[in-house]
């Protein structure tokens, strides 16, 4: 019998061997403590801002800015981009979610550095080439982008935030995310296992 904690420890030893250095890679936190921390951040967002967390919206703002810079007419004519563009008085990048996501980059980096986990690598199983993995990462990202926009939110904006607010659409969405992922998992198992 092997517990999760032990497998994690083995993973980290594995990582250490690979990088051939003496840097100590700390194990991940107890999932319930990490979840508690995450939940308190979400709660703080509710109490301070009256809104939840998000991620994909920031990238929509980025894409809108890009499209607007290259082809302003195109951006204005698309109802979708126009909504993010607003009346044009300020950049779509001056947005709550954009700043929040910038914080996510920084927060992730702080935690990673403290735990000795920052290292240039490609996350993949042993049975797939780097090129193959990057190909799948791009395809998966594309689907994620489209799915998140269709569902009006991603795992953070819908599942996490809406879940805590007992939002019907968010709970249905969350079930569908797990259903979609479990249904697809078998076909891409060589990527991870």
């Amino acid at each position: 019998m092997m517990s999760v904690e032990q497998t994690t420890a083995i993973d980290s030893i594995h990582v250490q061997e690979k990088q051939k250095s003496i840097r100590v890679v700390q194990p991940y936190w107890n999932p319930y403590l990490a979840g508690l921390g995450l939940g308190l951040v979400l709660l703080a967002s509710f109490v301070i801002m009256g809104r939840g967390l998000g991620a994909s919206g920031a990238f929509t703002a980025l894409v809108t800015t890009g499209v607007n810079a290259v082809a302003p007419e195109n951006a204005k004519s698309s109802e979708f981009f126009a909504e993010y563009l607003g009346d044009g008085s300020q950049s779509p990048l001056k947005d709550w979610l954009v700043f929040e996501v910038l914080g996510v980059f920084v927060g992730g980096f702080i935690s990673g550095i403290l735990a000795g986990r920052v290292r240039k690598t490609v996350e993949k199983g042993p049975n797939i080439s780097v090129r193959g993995r990057l190909f799948f990462a791009f395809i998966g990202g594309g689907m994620m982008g489209m799915g998140a926009k269709l569902a009006r939110g991603c795992t953070s904006g819908q599942a996490l935030t809406g879940g805590a607010l007992l939002n019907v659409g968010s709970w249905v969405f969350m079930m569908c995310v797990f259903a979609g992922a479990y249904a697809m998992a078998y076909f891409v198992r060589r990527q991870w296992r």
Partner: protein
């Protein structure tokens, strides 16, 4: 092994805590404030006196023409009156149905009625239910017709009045009204047909000047 034992008990502690909190939650009541309303009379009286919650017809006309979409315009009159004429973008919620109307406390709500009385009463209901941003269209639809749809210019108008009239003409045109100049007697009510209610912003709620920037959500 020792750390694992510690961890097991920690997880169990967390589980027990949340289980207890959840159990208490069953009896702790509704987190939304119910239909029973509490009124801070003093606060209400002050805001009534200061008239901070009034919107003039000119302001409202400006908002609509600029395509501002951060407020909801609620018409408190009967359905019949609403069908005859209403300000573009308004939604009809007769006063009697205000308590169960689908309004959010976080929304900016502008109330309008024939004059100002029903709006004031609706305002009080909503304030008592802890709505934060409720405004009254000053003078109601009477003043709206007077100032926006059929602005008048007296023969002996001053230069300042004339300038204001020019501005009012633009608004009047936007809302399909008829400006009237050269009026000698202010009390004469002109017999002009009310504009048809097919307004640009009314025809299609998704198009039109409504270009609100996405502010929330993922």
């Amino acid at each position: 092994m020792k750390s694992q034992l510690f961890q097991m008990t920690l997880n169990k502690k967390l589980g027990l805590t949340v289980g207890f909190l959840g159990f208490v939650a069953v009896f702790a009541g509704n987190p939304y404030k119910g239909s029973g309303a509490t009124v801070n009379v003093k606060e209400l009286a002050i805001s009534v006196e200061k008239e901070v919650d009034h919107v003039s017809p000119e302001e409202l006309a400006d908002w609509i023409m600029q395509g501002k979409a951060d407020f909801r315009l609620v018409d408190l009159r009967s359905e019949k009156e609403f069908a005859e004429y209403h300000i573009p973008g308004a939604e009809n919620i007769p006063l009697a149905t205000i308590p169960e109307a689908d309004l959010l406390r976080s929304e900016k709500i502008v109330l309008c009625s024939e004059g100002g009385i029903h709006s004031a009463q609706g305002w009080f209901f909503l304030k008592a239910k802890d709505f934060k941003a409720v405004y009254i269209l000053r003078g109601g639809l009477d003043e709206w017709k007077d100032k926006i749809l059929f602005p008048k210019l007296a023969v002996n108008a001053t230069a300042y009045d004339k300038a204001a009239f020019e501005k009012a003409k633009a608004a009047s045109a936007y809302f399909g009204g008829t400006p009237i100049s050269g009026v000698t007697d202010q009390s004469v009510q002109p017999q002009v047909a009310l504009p048809k209610i097919e307004m640009p912003s009314q025809a299609n709620p998704q198009a039109g000047p409504q270009k609100k920037k996405k502010k929330e959500g993922c």
